[in-house]
């Protein structure tokens, strides 16, 4: 055992006699890590409480640096265990959450995509305006859809909510990695007044996306946005009174 673990083990054995009375305060990164663990654990009081108590014991005997190191290592080691545990225990709920998140994301992209339908001439010329509208507008719509989908996935699954959002995020990343080479503009469709309409929605065939945009943004930002949505939902659920949550 390491020195820090000896401290935790000894303190636990003596009924926490050497531990500090009050839990150490956490930095911003640690609070985000706690939020993520809370989103993966069913009983966050039990897990986060053990981590906090263990950290206080290490800090009392070995100092704050060793305590931080011990806490970080325990968080990193806990994540895969929690993921496997939750996936095995709540596969149905996670699947339901992921499905609801996917539907929500699709609804958002469709709604926003429909809102940025552009009109062009006989055949759509690639102007700076339409290019920016397509690339940036479409990208932002997708990222918003990712946040919304992740939040819905977390809220619906409830059990290990962050895992449902992370699963959906991974799926989103794979989805966008699978077709990063759209580089065509059009074909669009003729408008009743003789013009030409191009839809900038993700489900539209009228897409123009440079590979160098699609790969780094959608394959990385989309999963990140989905997980962010999940984290926001977890934070919201934690901020509610206990008796109001399941």
């Amino acid at each position: 055992m390491s020195g820090a673990d000896d401290a935790v083990a000894g303190a636990a054995g003596r009924g926490s006699a050497i531990s500090a009375d009050v839990a150490p305060t956490l930095g911003r990164a640690a609070r985000i890590a706690e939020l993520a663990l809370a989103g993966l654990a069913e009983d966050e009081d039990e897990l986060l409480g053990d981590l906090t108590e263990g950290r206080a014991q290490v800090e009392a005997t070995s100092g704050p640096v060793a305590a931080r190191r011990w806490w970080r290592s325990q968080v990193v080691r806990a994540v895969p265990r929690l993921v496997i545990h939750a996936a095995a225990r709540h596969a149905g709920w996670l699947l339901l959450g992921g499905l609801a998140g996917a539907v929500a994301g699709l609804a958002v992209t469709t709604a926003l995509g429909a809102g940025i339908t552009a009109r062009a001439g006989d055949f759509p010329p690639v102007t700076t305006r339409t290019f920016v509208l397509a690339v940036v507008g479409h990208g932002l719509a997708l990222l918003l859809a990712g946040v919304a989908g992740g939040a819905i996935a977390a809220l619906v699954s409830r059990r290990a909510p962050l895992l449902a959002a992370a699963g959906l995020g991974a799926l989103n990343g794979l989805l966008w990695l699978s077709h990063p080479y759209y580089s065509t503009y059009g074909p669009g469709r003729p408008a009743p007044d003789g013009g030409w309409v191009i839809a900038f929605s993700p489900t539209s065939p009228d897409l123009l996306f440079p590979v160098l945009w699609e790969l780094p943004t959608m394959a990385i930002l989309m999963p990140a946005a989905t997980v962010l949505g999940g984290l926001l939902a977890v934070g919201w659920m934690r901020s509610r009174p206990r008796d109001a949550t399941l």
Binding site: M1, S2, D5, V8, A9, G10, A11, A12, G13, S16, S19, A20, D21, V22, A23, A41, E42, D43, E44, D45, E46, L47, L48, G49, D50, L51, T52, E53, G54, A56, Q57, Q74, R77, A78, V79, R81, L82, I84, H85, R89
Partner: protein, 118 residues
């Protein structure tokens, strides 16, 4: 009869030693001593949850504690089914060792390697 893995067995024994007052960190300490290497806090947490699913332990939560950042502890105790499992595991181990040949004292470090080379 329910079957349990090695870590689950160690956790059950640890819970049994502090029946009703066993909680994650304390169980982790007991298992660390028994195994000679420390499992993670997450491993003990998931193992206890699994044992509760199997009906081998039951738990209650304490009042919030300042040292835990205002969070409660979950304290575990064995169920009757767990006592049956432990008794069966003990009987199995005793049967196994009753038929084992006499192996003498523990070999010196490197003895197995020298034997293989010879």
């Amino acid at each position: 009869m329910l079957s349990v893995g090695v870590l689950e067995l160690e956790v059950l024994l640890a819970v049994g030693r502090h029946d009703g007052e066993a909680y994650g960190l304390l169980v982790r300490r007991e298992v660390s001593v028994a195994r000679g290497r420390e499992p993670s806090v997450g491993a003990i947490y998931t193992t206890l949850a699994r044992l509760e699913d199997k009906g081998l332990v039951e738990s209650r939560t304490t009042d919030p504690l300042p040292v835990r950042g205002g969070r409660s502890r979950r304290e575990y105790q064995l169920t009757a089914a767990a006592r049956d499992v432990l008794a069966a595991e003990r009987a199995r181990a005793e049967r196994r060792w009753a038929t084992a040949p006499s192996l003498g004292s523990a070999p010196a470090p490197g003895a197995a390697l020298r034997w293989r080379q010879a």
